[in-house]
């Protein structure tokens, strides 16, 4: 294998026309060895693709997915209450559409990806009423998109507030309350599947970023007591595995809280994930803070700003913009780590899949199920990365103006 940096750069004439033969010769058959390698790999890839296609089309039993789709998506949530989750998805689709219209303004490719997410979410159940809801989500997302595009300035604050209140809204809608007659109580042990993973991710992101900012500022603080406590927290959390923290949150949190202060399993897992990723966020944001040149502080001080103003108006915005890609990576990491709640007994997508595979009807269909789960994680991770890219572009554009 040759390394690109080993060979001197070839100066190509920019005006020369693209020719397939030249491209092939340059990239695939540039010497005997590479030609051999290329041929062998083409053969192997062809063989693999053929095998996968034959398997997917013929021997794979995809009905394990279609029959258990609702279980995989929302766990054992009561069937007659599913409309509540649909309402959440509708709100989310509308919000995504609005945000897209306001900030990204959409081109064709972006629009396609914009709808991929609510649609992926919307596969909640393959029933008769399924298509109605799906069309509803699409229509709402589109309306949101056009409304957002029409009034980009005035809608910014309400949309941000709505995004922030999405968690309490979802928790209320899906969980209901004991007193309410319409929204009956559904205990959190009935929540599950993909919905749980997404909820945990969203909670983790929303809580760990502010906490991480506070910790990072604390770590950079000139007060030794504050600094040492923040360093202690960050280093301790980063030195232990997430599972032990989740486990501790399940077992120990009730011991440390006063009696009657009920905290259910899901909330404990949320606390564990948020506290854990806050430490990582803090380290990322600290990297951003350190990248801000000292002259920025001095200039702000010369303008007569106090400490709080300097940090919140001058240093922090620049630092956050500098580390957006890393923060997005960490968010994807949180999403991947939500699968660990399986080990503390919550029924997330992976643990539901175990229940499905334990059913003797679906013996030996593990490859189908795990391929489906892998695809789901891959799509959502890509979506998050895509959004992160967009946010970065926006932030850079904002900074330039």
């Amino acid at each position: 294998m040759t390394i690109t940096s080993n060979t001197p750069t070839e100066i190509t004439n920019p005006q020369s026309k693209f020719s397939l033969l030249a491209w092939l010769k340059k990239n695939l058959f540039y010497n005997v060895l590479s030609s051999l390698v290329t041929l062998v790999f083409i053969y192997l890839i062809g063989l693999t693709i053929k095998k996968i296609l034959v398997w997917a089309a013929q021997s794979a039993q995809w009905d394990v997915i279609t029959t258990n789709l609702r279980l995989l998506m929302i766990g054992t949530y009561p069937v007659e209450q599913v409309y509540r989750i649909w309402i959440c998805i509708l709100i989310m689709g509308f919000l995504i559409g609005l945000s897209w219209g306001i900030w990204i303004k959409g081109r064709t490719v972006s629009n396609v990806i914009m709808f991929a997410f609510p649609f992926a979410l919307a596969l909640t159940q393959m029933r008769t009423d399924f298509w109605g809801w799906l069309v509803g989500v699409g229509v709402l997302a589109l309306t949101g998109f056009f409304i957002g595009k029409r009034f980009p300035k005035s809608l910014v604050v309400p949309v941000l507030v709505l995004w922030m209140s999405l968690i309490p809204l979802t928790v209320y809608l899906v969980g209901g309350s004991e007193t309410s007659r319409i929204l009956r109580k559904v205990t959190t042990d009935k929540w599950g599947g993909m919905f749980l993973n997404l909820l945990l991710t969203w909670v983790g992101i929303i809580f760990s970023i502010p906490l991480g900012i506070l910790l990072a500022i604390g770590r950079q603080s000139r007060y030794p007591a504050i600094k040492s406590i923040c360093v202690f927290y960050i280093e301790i959390i980063r030195a232990v595995p997430l599972i032990t923290i989740l486990f501790m949150a399940q077992v120990m949190l009730p011991l440390f809280l006063p009696e009657g202060f009920a905290f259910d399993r899901l909330a404990r897992a949320m606390v564990g994930i948020s506290l854990f990723s806050a430490a990582y966020m803090a380290e990322i944001i600290r990297g951003g803070l350190q990248s801000i040149p000292h002259s920025q502080y001095e200039a702000a001080e010369a303008l007569g700003m106090n400490e709080v103003l300097i940090i919140s108006r001058i240093v922090l915005p620049q630092a956050l913009i500098a580390v957006i890609p890393v923060i997005v990576d960490q968010c994807i990491g949180i999403f991947r780590d939500t699968t660990l709640v399986l080990i503390v007994g919550l029924s997330d997508l992976l643990s539901v899949s175990r229940t499905v595979l334990a059913n003797p009807l679906f013996m030996g269909t593990h490859i189908e199920v795990y391929a489906f789960i892998g695809l789901f994680f891959w799509i959502v991770s890509y979506f998050l990365a895509f959004i992160g890219q967009k946010i970065e572009h926006l932030a850079c554009a904002y900074r330039r103006n």
Binding site: I3, T9, Y223, V240, T244, P254, G374
Partner: protein, 398 residues
């Protein structure tokens, strides 16, 4: 007169009080005091609740249980664990397993990561895209999913116990595990290894003298040294009355397989998951490390007439290594921490054993606390070692 002075005094006092809030030193002390006070109050509140709960349950903190018997038998540990083993020894067995898995994982994932990272930089379009595909796919999959999927794959695709797949007449693959030939040590093993170590040290010393003082070609020195070493090793082997190692080949005996060494599907799934899941990150580090070495360096090396391999080995790689070490260290650390995901397939490493022990003894806080402290020590050790190495390479740069 008196009145006037007191009025003046109070004025000064007032001024002092108001300036106090603007005094840097006062603020420093006050802010920290309030912060620490808040933390202390929070801790005290939590501890008080803990005490109350404990009083109600009639239990308290204590580590005396560590010497009691566990009463369970753990399979697949390197240190054998029986029913009568004390708790601390069981925990130790878990720790040894953790270290074993993570060391193997680090070695294999580094090898795979380097291969893929270099493939990503290949001039061949196909290989480059394949490496890219691998990185993109496995980077976005949860590690736990990879481990569990591998486990089920092994369990379901390997044949049943009665009809094993046999490779080279000596490797038996069944869904209970993979049994392969192993080396069995004898009484003379330690002496043999000692001899080898002395021999290696001697060879390295002689080789250094030859290549540094007499300026022999290092390749020739290496080959001569290797030859002498092999010869001497064979002589030492024959010198012992009992051979230091014998090969044990597994075979079937009634309803079980004997001989050799067996690795369970749990262990293999964990290892494969860790390696496959960590390799993309390492590949990315290797790729960016090599790509970030300024192009002028390779050009100069080529102008000096160094071959492709020598450019890589002596010019590019050492410089790339310097930028690669810190992120590699953090990846190794996360690999070590990710061994806890074995809980998904019930392999008994430290966390798994802790969980079983908590069920047996009911001492959740103590055992979890202990294992967290152990993970912390492991992390700090790795971080410390990497820092040392980092410092060494940084100084060499000057």
């Amino acid at each position: 007169m008196e009145l006037k002075s007191s009025a003046l005094f109070s004025k000064i006092n007032k001024k002092r009080l108001s300036t106090l809030w603007r005094d840097e030193r006062f603020i420093t002390v006050m802010v920290q005091f309030i912060f620490v006070l808040l933390i202390v109050i929070l801790c005290a509140f939590m501890l008080k609740n803990l005490q109350q709960t404990w009083r109600k349950q009639g239990s308290s903190l204590g580590f005396r249980f560590l010497t009691q018997n566990t009463g369970f038998e753990a399979a697949q540990t390197i240190i054998p664990i029986t029913r009568t083993s004390p708790v601390y020894k069981t925990l130790l067995a878990g720790l040894v397993n953790t270290i074993y898995v993570s060391l193997l994982g680090i070695v294999f994932s580094t090898v795979l990561g380097i291969i893929i990272g270099i493939a990503y930089l290949s001039k061949n379009f196909l290989i480059r895209k394949l490496a890219w595909l691998y990185i993109e796919v496995f980077r976005n999959l949860p590690l736990l999913l990879i481990i569990i999927a591998t486990y089920y794959m092994l369990i379901f695709s390997l044949p049943k116990f009665d009809s094993p797949v046999i490779w080279f007449d000596s490797i038996y693959l069944t869904n209970r595990g993979v049994r392969f030939p192993s080396l069995v040590s004898s009484k003379t093993t330690t002496a043999f290894i000692l001899c080898l170590v002395i021999l290696i040290v001697l060879m390295i010393w002689i080789g250094r003298v030859l290549s540094r003082k007499f300026e022999w070609d290092s390749f020739i020195v290496f080959m001569i040294g290797l030859g002498i070493f092999m010869g001497m090793a064979i002589c030492t082997w024959n010198f012992f009355p009992i051979p230091p190692y014998s090969v044990s080949i597994p075979f079937r005996e009634g309803f079980s397989y004997v001989g050799g060494e067996e690795q369970t599907p749990e262990f293999i799934a964990l290892l494969v998951g860790l390696v496959v899941g960590t390799a993309p990150f390492i590949a990315d580090i290797v790729r960016s490390g090599i790509a970030n070495v300024p192009k002028g360096q390779t050009e100069v090396a080529q102008a000096l007439g160094l071959s492709g391999y020598k450019t890589m080995r002596f010019i590019v790689f050492p410089q790339a290594l310097r930028t690669m070490i810190p992120p590699l260290a953090s990846n190794y650390l996360s690999l070590t921490k990710n061994t806890t995901l074995a809980a998904g397939v019930a392999f008994t490493e430290l966390f798994g054993i802790s969980r079983i022990l908590i069920n047996h003894t009911g001492r959740a806080i103590e055992i979890m606390g202990l294992s967290m402290v152990v993970y912390m020590i492991l992390s700090l050790l790795t971080a410390g070692l990497m820092n040392l190495y980092n410092k060494k390479t940084q100084i060499a740069e000057r």
